[in-house]
Symmetry: D2
């Protein structure tokens, strides 16, 4: 198991070898992240109604690949936007624990919405 | 530093305490991920033309929060879709190294597109 | 009832009065369109599991507003990207009729996906 | 030139012939709309930095097709969600005229963001 910093370092080396830093401003990477998230969403688009397509082996592999693409774009964005994703994750989880107290949030997503 | 499995375990405890598993099917979580990615994108929407708004302190904090939300949704999705994100990340990075050989990919994003 | 050209003209006047043309390059507008589409998606995010929230009057009004925002962004994008949306719509519908012949497409979304 | 109701009627006939109504609940169509908006966004993803790719003829055709797909998804969604898109468009434009008074909004996108 490796942590986020090790993954970010591997991506940094990948991008530097290809001189992709010139393309990787935070704005471009935020666009790329939305595009990858939508490619993942597309894998679940009609499946509830048209059968459990993600259960098909080739579909399962696509879910793995698209989930990885989302993480890659997110780490690239954090690298260029100066986001400490490790710290941001734990801080946001603490915020959510305060925002959704167990007693009030149990069994309801309403506060997610309104 | 903690790895993805530790973060996934913290989210699992958070969700179980609130009985949110009933809402967290992969399809809903893929939708939530796209919504969070768009909230992050929105922070960069007009900034190139209307000034460096993400440089504003409150905007910077929003980028941290939205990036964390994307990771939270992604980890929740992987948990429910049976994706080993750690393995998927390294496998996809290997695929990308083969897909974008340094000599051909250097300084060009074309193969990202076509 | 007005057609798309009349709506585009009304938006052009709205934007010119505010000197927003400087912000409205196709790329920014494609970003804005994705953000608006996600705001519409968010209205349906947890509703299947957490009750028919879009049936609530205030939720219904939000669906109207977000659907209108998507059309506004799309028309602004077509204006700046030189897309004749009227022609593109009918051309794409013809393409879809050829791509999804009634006999093979009836009752199946598979070709939407694979 | 045809108006939105004529386009909606053509789509209704297209969908009924294929018995796609069973798949076209508002939630699925909101997902499809986000996916199509992201496919349009992808056409502009690296173009500012990697050259004016949308200027390439084949890229221009893709922009036409993806813009049409967004309109098709939006009209399908409005059909199933009971949205009068014609009325919603003009009502939202009036709201925006009140929200962004010319004197205050001229030359600034700030109120789009904050």
């Amino acid at each position: 198991m490796t942590d986020l910093k090790e993954k970010a370092a591997a991506l940094r080396a990948f991008n530097e070898a290809r001189e992709w830093g010139q393309f990787h401003n935070p704005r471009n990477l935020a666009m790329a992240l939305s595009v990858e998230a939508a490619e993942l969403l597309e894998l679940f688009l009609w499946c509830e109604d048209a059968g459990p397509q993600p259960a098909l082996p080739e579909r399962r592999r696509k879910v793995d690949d698209e989930a990885a693409d989302v993480l890659i774009c997110l780490l690239n964005l954090c690298e260029r936007a100066g986001v400490d994703l490790e710290a941001a994750f734990w801080k946001k989880l603490q915020k959510n624990e305060a925002k959704y107290p167990v007693e009030r949030a149990r069994g309801s997503m309403r506060k997610h919405d309104e």
